[in-house]
Symmetry: C3
Subunit: 223 residues, 3 copies
């Protein structure tokens, strides 16, 4: 149905724009964390690159797939260097890190959704079973940020902030697997899965939802 | 001799049980560290998985071997999720982390032994030279915990606790290489190597042995 | 020109000596950091190995290239173990970590140069485009230290010390690409690229050059 509604070239463009928004949002998050940690310009560029491309690269290593995204689309490497430079200049003049504007949150959610769906799709295409493919999609979408935090000497926020970031990615991945098995076209399934992940993610952000967390019983602390 | 003593199906079962005990012990250690670090449920499941399967996955990446253990035996992914859930529920009600019961220490030692021997064996089968194969066995057995500590923002305990954890794995690996070259059957060599590693490991735990450590000479502190 | 000046066997020897100096300097830096962090002997050996061979291993994983340097030249594994032992004994008797003698700085700069040039060359040989090849050269030369710092629970000094370590490697890589495209022989290009990286690196060390760093504007701190 979606396929009839939109022409192919429109779809291609929409996916390319979504991808670019996602990469930019991830790059930005890498730059912000790196700046906060006091990294130099080289470190900022590296951490930005690891955040944007680390998840997909890890998935490709696990799936033994080449070439990497940033080898095939290597203009991104130049974009990354330019963005780092622009970011540093901006910070010098302003010094304020607007981290959570709506535009960035939406871009990040779209990136999370598209990368999870795309990673799942690629793993399915290589013949991986559903549960592994969904996991690969999650790794694609989430492990860039995980690697960013490891390099920056933090506990990964995706593992500790109780915002269920990885669960959103898993939900999208299962949506893709389910709708494909119901006979939906790959493109429609990709769009639906992206929307599911991004939708849940934005709901979490808007509602301030937090996963239950284990609290150590502090009996001895009671008088 | 061992081959004659036990039938093949008994051996298969014994190895499968040992493997399961090892995976469970490693999973448990991941859950305990993750809980202590205040990770959320997603983080606990991820760290548990990295602890249990990270060493073997790293070895397979280094050896360029596919599929991974957790892809071939992917029911473990569901077991892992279920264990994380059970662990969280248990903690909510009890709040005590019994980390070092004898059952867990023995399981961990058996896992260390089997994974080291198994990893060495697999590397030998791929034509790696002895010293590389033994190193791969050690990586299989030890680097799950190393990755766990890196993700949890700790210095790897295997590198700093002076308990010679990695040396136990290396001892088992060399036992495998040595006994194979003396003509022992692969199964007997595997069992012997597992026993050597596990035995030394349990001796270390029981005796409280600690490797010598470098202490900075503090001459200037003397009056 | 260089090719005519020196015979091939002299070149081979010079490159082998440079390589050995580089590996030794990287090993030493790993041992120093590990000792400072209070790692035990196993941890020191592991961190030394990761520092010396981690960058090349990561490059080989990214390029899907086997065998690794330390598998092909596995006598280095024994050298590493022996060096760790010698280092620990030395520390016990002296307790002073001379980290920045001129000999070590020059060796480190030579290693940085050769590994960057060599990594770039290998990636070009595998058909990678120039920008990717130069990046692979940088990863070869720099990421051993990055992994060392991650394992030792530090923010990578290459990302934060403002000494432009990675930029020196990139400069050498681009020198290699440029001179090759101008028709220089591979050996001459390798030597030139190594000299460029090592030269800039030593200049940085001698002049105390520091990259500009972003400073958060502290307006509110003003009275």
């Amino acid at each position: 149905m979606i396929d009839n509604f939109l022409s192919w070239s429109h779809l291609e463009s929409a996916l390319a724009v979504t991808e670019a928004l996602g990469v930019l949002a991830f790059t930005y998050s890498g730059l912000v964390v790196a700046a906060r940690k006091g990294l130099d310009m080289v470190g900022m560029a590296m951490v930005a690159g690891i955040t944007a491309f680390g998840g997909g690269t890890l998935r490709d290593i696990l799936l033994d797939h080449r070439p990497f995204f940033w080898v095939e689309h290597r203009y991104w490497l130049w974009v990354l260097a330019a963005l780092t430079l622009a970011f540093v200049l901006l910070l010098r003049n302003h010094g304020n890190l607007e981290q959570s504007t709506h535009a960035i949150q939406v871009s990040d959610a779209l990136g999370l959704g598209l990368f999870a769906a795309d990673g799942t799709q690629m793993a399915l295409n290589q013949g991986e079973p559903a549960v592994v493919a969904v996991l690969m999609g999650m790794i694609t979408a989430v492990f860039g940020g995980v690697l960013r935090d490891i390099v920056c000497n933090d506990i990964p926020s995706a593992f500790s902030d109780r915002e269920a970031y990885a669960l959103c990615a898993l939900a999208g991945g299962w949506t893709l697997v389910g709708t494909l098995s119901l006979g939906l076209s790959p493109t429609s399934a990709l769009i639906l899965a992206t929307a599911v992940t991004a939708g849940i993610r934005l709901l979490v952000v808007m509602t301030g939802f937090a996963m239950p967390k284990w609290e150590r019983a502090r009996r001895s602390a009671q008088p």
